[in-house]
């Protein structure tokens, strides 16, 4: 797992455009109209993923990380959801302007998604073989028999033992780890270019989590897929990601290559998160805790959304929304891929 951002340049691009990212999200806004008012779940998110690259989107519940993913997949409930602004470019084409038919051709075949809770994402009254085969029947018009053979092949690929005997089993007959493997198999079925994994291992035990993450990383290498990994677990991110986008209250507050972020965070929120996790290899005295609570999306604080909880807050933070600044070294050398939405990023990273 040493793929870096630079390596993707060697990847043959099908779109003809060199170095173009697979997926680019530009200034995406998502809001939900509720009885209590408009909840602004996503407020101007920008990120991109290239083939073979892993982007980790890190954030707490309510930070808008899953809503962004749902908007990309086109599975957002609309209404009450609405996308007032923004572009989602897949191989240069804006998916938000496509017709429903065009999007359906991309969904599943080009971009696939793995959900958190495998038990509630699988249909309990259909066998897993039928559900896996559905991908081939619907998208490629295969016969039932061929689809089932393909399903067995897929189950073998994600290393489910005795795939042939188990293809007619129902989801409840599988363990949590095996069900998540079936979800992965389903996402892989049509060999997509991009996989979005929304908290794929949160419901699993650590030993099984390690198995599943290993499998996912291996398959990603094999197919040279882009991967968007949505999670709140800083440990999982450190293990697999190439670059990280940290989200807070619907905005990206910091982006960085994985090694940089852990060494020198450039946003007080990221620093707080890193300080508040207990460590396995040492016993600290007391945990650092970010004070207060994540903001209510119906009523996001003026200025920087993190300002009410920030230890370094100044007057400007309460009035002006900080832009996502490029972060540079002390001597002014640019740090590629690093950005921070803090007025005082210089002080945070260098001092």
């Amino acid at each position: 797992m040493t793929t870096t951002t630079e390596k993707t340049a060697n990847v043959p691009e099908q779109s003809g455009e060199k170095n173009a990212p697979l997926l680019e999200v530009r200034d995406l806004h998502v809001e939900f109209h509720t009885r209590d008012g408009v909840a602004k779940a996503v407020n101007g998110v920008n990120y991109s993923v290239s083939a073979g690259e892993t982007l980790a989107v890190l954030g707490e519940s309510g930070s808008g990380k899953s809503v962004t993913a749902q908007a990309i997949m086109g599975i957002l409930d609309m209404p009450p959801g609405r996308i007032p602004k923004g572009e989602i470019l897949f191989r240069g084409q804006d998916m938000l302007k496509m017709s429903a038919d065009e999007r359906r051709k991309i969904r599943g075949a080009k971009i696939a998604m793995i959900f958190q809770d495998a038990l509630s994402s699988l249909n309990p009254v259909l066998s897993v073989g039928y559900q896996l085969g559905e991908m081939f029947r619907v998208h490629q018009g295969m016969s039932k028999k061929d689809a089932k053979a393909k399903a067995i092949e897929l189950m073998d690929r994600v290393r489910i033992p005795a795939a042939k005997e188990r293809v007619n089993d129902y989801p409840h007959q599988f363990s949590g780890g095996m069900r998540q493997r079936i979800m992965i198999a389903m996402a892989l079925a049509l060999e997509p270019d991009l996989i979005i994994a929304d908290e794929p291992t949160t419901a699993l035990d650590v030993t099984v989590q390690a198995q599943v993450m290993d499998l996912l990383a291996e398959l990603q290498r094999e197919f040279n897929m882009g991967l968007i990994l949505i999670t709140h677990d800083l440990g999982v991110v450190a293990d697999v990601a190439d670059k990280i986008a940290v989200m807070y209250a619907g905005r990206i507050v910091e982006t960085a290559p994985v090694h940089e972020l852990y060494k020198r965070p450039a946003h007080p929120y990221t620093r707080g998160l890193l300080d508040s996790i207990p460590r396995l290899d040492q016993k600290g005295q007391e945990l650092f805790a970010i004070k207060g609570l994540p903001p209510n999306l119906l009523n996001i604080p003026a200025g920087c959304a993190f300002s009410p909880r920030c230890p370094k807050v100044q007057d400007i933070c309460r009035t002006e929304v900080p832009a996502l600044h490029d972060v540079a070294e002390q001597d002014g050398t640019a740090m590629p891929g690093r950005r921070s939405a803090c007025h005082f990023w210089k002080e945070t990273i260098h001092g």
Partner: protein, 377 residues
């Protein structure tokens, strides 16, 4: 949603010493609980089998799910015992047995020398006052139709001797203040609070009767990282303030290390290894503990290439039909014929017996061997 502006800064007068220090022996001494004395809770050979039945009218027992199968440990005054393990290993069942919410199939739980599994009626009620519980999910463990005041005050209805009727409201407000919530929130309903605040309400309810032991079943696993640290700090502060003993059940090994003085690792209804946090995390001798620790993702990208990871194959076997001998042998890379025949006892392994090393702690493995998987680069 209101802010917890009045969360107090905990000032933990620490007995625990951060172990950046020198030799392992020194660490072990420093980290051992200071005064041991008599254990407040002694668990001996606790067994819980849930019967599996067949037939509708004439129910016939065809087997049993061996959720807990012979667990023993001690809990001392003022200490925290962490219990870790994968889902289905029986850790929550142990919690329920200690609360006598489930009846044990066999075995004893001694609270100050009295076996609580045999108690009933008034005597049981008196003991229960001293053992309270904090639940995992703060969204379902609080009744949505009761106000916070009613929820925290309900224990006083059952044990009126703790607070006379006129005093209760004041007492509830004190409790709210203790857990860092505004006492004016007494008339609010649970849905008006965030997850972290709700867990504080659950903790206040657990504290209401001035218990000596609090059993926490995954108290922070439903919370966000930034809020999790607040609740853990609160629990540590309360422990010092009221000299509480905690049994802290969790699947997150990092949190357990942070809060616990001693840690027990469970696998399939049995205790695999038990010792102080230094003994378990830095000097594990049971292969399951080693695998478990090595599987935890470490929030340090520099370590990801160098770290050795033991990835177990397969899933946990069914507790209805556990493997013979050592229960871990089906997933163990060290398994030999002996493991299938003989059940390893939870004791200090012979190789380490009598030696002054942190590896000399109880471990249920025939081939116990020290291996530091957390620090290994």
């Amino acid at each position: 949603m209101a802010e917890t502006a009045d969360v107090k800064e905990p000032n933990v007068s620490d007995v625990k010493v951060s172990d950046a220090s020198t030799t392992a022996e020194v660490e072990a001494v420093l980290d051992a609980p200071v005064e041991r004395g008599e254990p407040i809770l002694q668990v001996r050979n606790l067994v819980k089998h849930f019967p599996l039945t067949q037939g509708i009218l004439l129910k016939k027992q065809v087997g049993a799910v061996k959720a807990v199968d012979g667990v023993s440990f001690d809990l001392y005054q003022g200490e925290t015992l962490g219990i870790v393990g994968e889902s289905g290993c029986g850790k929550s069942t142990v919690a329920k047995l200690l609360m006598t919410l489930e009846t044990a199939t066999s075995g004893e739980v001694f609270y100050k020398g009295q076996d609580i599994t045999k108690l009933s009626g008034r005597a049981l009620k008196a003991v229960r006052r001293n053992i309270q519980m904090v639940f995992q999910d703060p969204y379902t463990s609080l009744n949505p139709r009761m106000t916070v005041g009613d929820i925290i005050g309900e224990p006083f209805e059952i044990h009126p001797e703790v607070a006379p009727k006129g005093d209760r409201r004041k007492r509830v407000q004190e409790l709210l203040d203790v857990v860092g919530l505004n006492p004016e929130y007494i008339n609010r309903y649970p849905h008006q609070f965030s997850g972290g605040q709700r867990q504080r309400i659950g903790i206040a309810r657990g504290l209401a009767l001035n218990p000596e032991i609090i059993i926490c079943d995954e108290p922070v696993s439903a919370l966000d990282v930034s809020v999790q640290a607040q609740v853990v700090n609160l629990m540590e502060r309360l422990q010092d303030e009221f000299n509480l003993s905690y049994i802290f059940i969790a699947h997150d090994l990092s949190i357990v290390r942070h809060i616990s003085d001693r840690v027990g690792v469970m696998y399939l209804g049995k205790m695999a290894e038990i010792g102080t946090d230094v003994q378990i995390y830095d000097h594990p001798t049971h292969p399951y503990t080693q695998a478990l620790l090595s599987a935890v993702p470490v929030p340090d990208p520099e370590a990801r290439e160098g770290r050795e990871r033991i990835i177990l194959t397969g899933d946990v076997p069914s507790p209805a039909n556990p493997p013979s001998g050592c229960r871990f042998r089906t997933r163990c890379w060290k398994a030999q014929d002996k493991c299938a025949e003989e059940v390893p006892l939870l004791a200090v392994p012979e190789v380490f017996a009598g030696k002054q090393t942190p590896a000399a702690h109880e471990s249920a493995c025939h081939f116990a061997e020290e291996k530091d998987v957390v620090h290994a680069a």
